[in-house]
Amino acid sequence: MKKKLLHAFDWLLLLGSTLLVCTFLGIILWDIFSKGLPAISWDFLLQYPTDGMTQGGILPAVVGTVLLTFITTLFAVPFGVACAVYLNEYAKHSLFTNIIRASIRNLAGVPSIIYGLFGLALFVQAMKLGTSVLSAGLTLGLLSLPYIIITTEEALKRIPNSMREATLALGVTQFETIKDVILPKALPGILTGVILTLSRAAGETAPILFTGVAFYINGVSTSINQEFMALPYHLYMLSTQHYAIEQVRPLAYGTAVVLITLVFLLNIVAFIIRSKYRTQD
């Protein structure tokens, strides 16, 4: 009897922990969406902020985040994919590849604020790009690099060796094999990893703090040499630094809804690509 009770307790412990974790997510989503959705309208998405940020919309922040993520992609994806191709297709197990792999794992563990400092020292100051959406995008690109390499390599690993051997046996060079056979076949897997990485980059705040983000700019950022507004930074400023914090709280909730929805949408796209790809195999 005592033993049975004890087992019921064990079971409750495991189930309770799991339920608590689910509750955390539930509370987060419930609070943000129940208080934030009323603030959402086309005007909120498509208008400029007015009256010292207490009225109007968040258009420049949405545009800024999209532009920023675009620059991050342009920079990080080619380098990340190339590095993964080298590791999986060309390199033999050697000291050099071991060092590369160790670097990648450690880069993934470097705190994001340190990427921000590095971006400040390298892009803003040394390369004289100034505080701009370009500097911030490059900084986020560096941050994303290890994740893109890791996920791309996983996608490449899933391609059976027989395909490589078959094309090489036909006399096709290794580069052509990679370009015409391996990469197209691995594309869905690579895309999934890239989208997930970008969803993470879009929500980052610390790396862009000193590299170009601004609380307010006049108009929409169109030039990559200008400072820009971004959704996560906008939420941070509205909730901590605004002169009328209580008054702008609905706007802060609305911004949080837009940011989380954007990130979840990217995740869902990645999920769909992944599940289609899995059933194909």
């Binding site: 799991t18 590095c83 390199a91 604020i113 290794q174 969803s199 703090l209 979840f264």
Partner: protein
Amino acid sequence: MIDWTFKQVFKGAGFLTIALLGSIFFMLMYNAFSFFSRINPIDFFTGIQWDPDTSYSIFPLLVSTFLVAIGSMVIAVPLGILTAAFLSEVAPEKLQMILKPVIEMLAAIPSVAIGFLGIVLLGPFISKLFGIQNGLNALNGSILLAIMALPTIITISEDAINSVPNSHREASLALGANKWETLFKITIPAALPGLIAAVMLGLGRALGETMTVLMATGNAAAIPKGFLDSVRTITATIAIEMGEVPYQTTHYFALFAIAAILFLISLSINFLGEYFANRLRKFDA
């Protein structure tokens, strides 16, 4: 010839990752040395006050950083490991299909949104619960960081528990142990190196997190006496002060010096995590 050229291009991309880690390290060290040429390292590590322009001591920031991070692990480690055990040993497949996306969603929420909830939801709750004026304190930060570290800890712990060979479980069950005794006395101890690796990665994440602690912990740069005190971590200090310091001043270099210490701490925790993860892999073979 084309083949050879492209191989070198790809190889160059590989080299870039080494160069990147190397340059981050060099940039931090170079600026930290500029700082230590102006300020005595002994004062930096043993002083008790971080007060730019008069006293630069990392000590209160280090205490704050570890207080919040270790507090978060106290919450997240048992919760994460038990949830991982539930997922891999108890939950039927259909339930797993629901729970895994839940954990992925939790991992996807941006840190600034979690910090925002620390201000509007958890802060007022803590101040009411303990009858204190300000709910922005170390406890608030620890709870939020625990939530953020949970997905990492759960996913890696689950892998570790799954990688324990079934023969272990079967042997234990055959000896008359029941399901629970097997889980707590055989499976979890066998997965221990992997679980430690999971905790290390979670801890690394908690130590390096910026926005959540910046928003939720109150940012008082004094040595905290307990979890209900306001704290200011290394990451939050950099985030607050870097935007306002003139380049190449002592204060500017000081922020790189504390960043260098944070970098070394994260690096060591990563290495420890990897060491334990490798031990689990050996056990596999």
